[in-house]
């Protein structure tokens, strides 16, 4: 991890610490809690897509498996949420491994479609297994996290809880990408054949990063379940997978920081643009399209180039960033 990352981490850490003192309104805090929860998923997605170059259109499913596993275990089987969190991680990781092993042999559109189909199947299961999941109407009364007598039941407490996890995961992930394994992942993205003949076990690393991203999503799911305390399948549909994808893309796929910024930008923007109501779907699609055409490296990097270099980045950047993905 370079100096730049350490500095950014420090800035983020301080911001996370101070923010609740500045904005104490629980409504704003809960927006930030969701930013944190979604960031966990998008960090994983960024590792998977931006670094290893593998696409997933089913990330909402892992989020859902995490949420439902710990929700069901802690509600219907009265397990402690902490234990449920651990079990959910193993369940999600196991499922990701089973589905990833054959799926990651596929490339491009086929991988996208396989993950999409997987996501849909999980969605159907959540709807159909009424005895456990409550079916389409979902189930509630999921307990809060507890540490001794300290219950994480206020936005203020949960905010710090979620963001400390985000920071830990972030540090882990930054460690990872600046290591032997991180380079291996990026080499797969750069040229899978070359990575292979340089001694990288590409199949293994693809599955590992897929499982890791699923585990991140699972943790996010557990955090979601014990915050909202109510689950129903609608939250984990295909459109949420797309929303996650959009967050990663907006921030710039090949940067973990971008993933967090994209998540924050989109979550906060959509929350404050509530007045757009009926139009938000149009804006959503439009923004996504414009970014992919004009700023494929993400809003932040793209705008930076636009402002400081004065040249419209379209051709050069598209070429560069896309060639690297061939």
């Amino acid at each position: 991890m370079g100096k730049k990352n350490l500095f950014s981490l420090l800035v983020l850490g301080i911001m996370v610490m101070i923010l609740p003192l500045v904005i104490s309104n629980p409504y704003y805090l809960s927006i930030l809690i969701f930013v944190g929860i979604y960031s966990l998923i998008t960090i994983g997605l960024s590792l998977l897509m931006g670094y290893a170059g593998q696409i997933s259109l089913g990330q909402a499913a892992f989020f859902g498996i995490g949420a439902y596993t710990s929700g069901i275990l802690s509600t219907k089987f009265s397990l402690s949420p902490w234990l449920a969190l651990i079990i959910a991680i193993f369940v999600t990781g196991g499922i990701a491994f089973l589905i990833g092993t054959p799926a990651l042999r596929l490339k491009g559109h086929y991988l996208a479609m396989a993950t999409l189909a997987f996501g849909q199947i999980i969605f159907i299961i959540l709807n159909e297994e009424i005895a456990y999941t409550g079916g389409p109407s979902g189930f509630g009364q999921i307990p809060y996290f507890k540490l001794g007598n300290f219950v994480f039941n206020s936005d203020f407490r949960y905010y710090y809880f979620v963001w400390s996890i985000v920071l830990v995961v972030l540090i882990f992930s930054l460690n990872l990408i600046h290591s032997r394994v991180g380079r291996a992942l990026r080499s797969i993205h750069g040229s899978e054949i070359a990575a292979n003949v340089l001694g990288v076990n590409t199949a293994k690393y693809k599955i590992q990063v897929f499982v890791l991203s699923a585990i991140y999503a699972s943790i996010a799911g557990t955090l979601y379940a014990h915050f909202v305390t109510f689950l129903s399948p609608g939250t984990f549909s295909f459109s949420f997978s797309i929303a996650l994808l959009t967050m990663v893309v907006i921030g710039g796929m090949d940067s973990i920081w971008g993933a967090i910024m994209g998540t924050a930008l989109l979550t906060i923007l959509l929350e404050f643009l509530r007045i757009f109501h009926d139009y938000d779907i149009l804006i959503y699609g439009g923004v996504l399209l414009l970014i992919m055409i004009f700023l494929p490296e993400g809003v932040f990097k793209g705008l930076f180039n636009l402002i400081y270099k004065g040249n419209f980045p379209k051709n050069r950047l598209i070429k560069k960033s896309l060639e690297s993905r061939r």
Partner: protein
């Protein structure tokens, strides 16, 4: 001298088309051996099979007297064979140095968990990777460009980088696929000189090359492939005078 690589009756078919039709040869230790032949002779297919990217239809490959046929590419690299590509395959999403550092992958061990938590072991290893990679970069003459993006490199530099990256894996046998293609005469000389220097480090080299001057100048032995078969094998001078070879080359124009 015992052979480091032994290819026995190698055959490869693609949906009925024979790309390799019973190729056998040996590469001796510390040799520079060149494979020549017209387009479509099966040279790149041969490389792809040796490096494990393709499965042979039948036949046998032995490296240091152990069979490696059908091993996964990363395991073959670990045994000590590495290659470069005819159509350059550098990692465009990384810096020059990082490209070379990937090459250290097979000689290092830290996995997901230890790198996630950045254990002491991982930090030590990272330092050794860095040091080794920089050494390799200075060996091929790219030290000044270590922290640049690879998109700033010329074709020649990209080729050097590919070789550096392969050297980082500490190969015993290096497969070079047309290292001089697309280079000027001066640049070609530079590459030829580098190849000789690599041999001096005790690394055996098998190369595919179209530039006859390079082949004749640096190689100890030459194999001629044609239509998936070995047409001739011998010292450069013998090959130059081989009637069949001349016929093939002239006949094809």
């Amino acid at each position: 001298m015992s052979p480091i690589l032994e290819v026995v009756a190698l055959r490869k078919e693609f949906g009925g088309v024979r790309a390799l039709d019973g190729v056998s040869f040996k590469v001796n230790q510390h040799q520079i051996k060149a494979i020549i032949g017209p387009n479509g002779a099966g040279k790149t297919t041969l490389f792809n099979i040796i490096s494990g990217l393709y499965f042979p239809t039948s036949g046998l490959i032995k490296f240091e007297n152990r069979e490696i046929t059908g091993l996964k590419p990363h395991l073959i690299t670990k045994r000590g064979i590495c290659r470069t590509f005819q159509n350059i395959q550098i990692f465009k999403n990384m810096t020059v140095l990082e490209n070379v550092m990937v090459g250290r992958h097979c000689r290092t061990r830290c996995e997901f968990l230890s790198t996630l938590m950045k254990l002491k072991r991982a930090r030590y290893e990272e330092e050794s990777i860095l040091a080794f990679s920089q050494k390799i970069l200075s060996f091929v003459g790219l030290k000044d460009r270590a922290f640049e993006s690879v998109s700033n490199l010329t074709i020649q530099e990209q080729k050097l980088l590919e070789i550096a990256r392969a050297l980082a894996t500490e190969p015993k046998l290096l497969l070079l696929d047309e290292p001089a293609a697309g280079l000027s005469i001066r640049e070609t000389e530079c590459i030829a000189e580098l190849i000789s220097r690599i041999r001096e480090r005790g690394i055996t080299i098998l190369l595919v090359e179209h530039d006859m001057n390079v082949v004749m100048e640096i190689s100890d032995e030459v194999i001629v492939l044609n239509s998936g078969r070995v047409l001739a094998e011998g010292a450069p001078r013998e090959i130059q005078n081989n009637k069949e070879v001349i016929a093939v080359y002239l006949g094809e124009g």
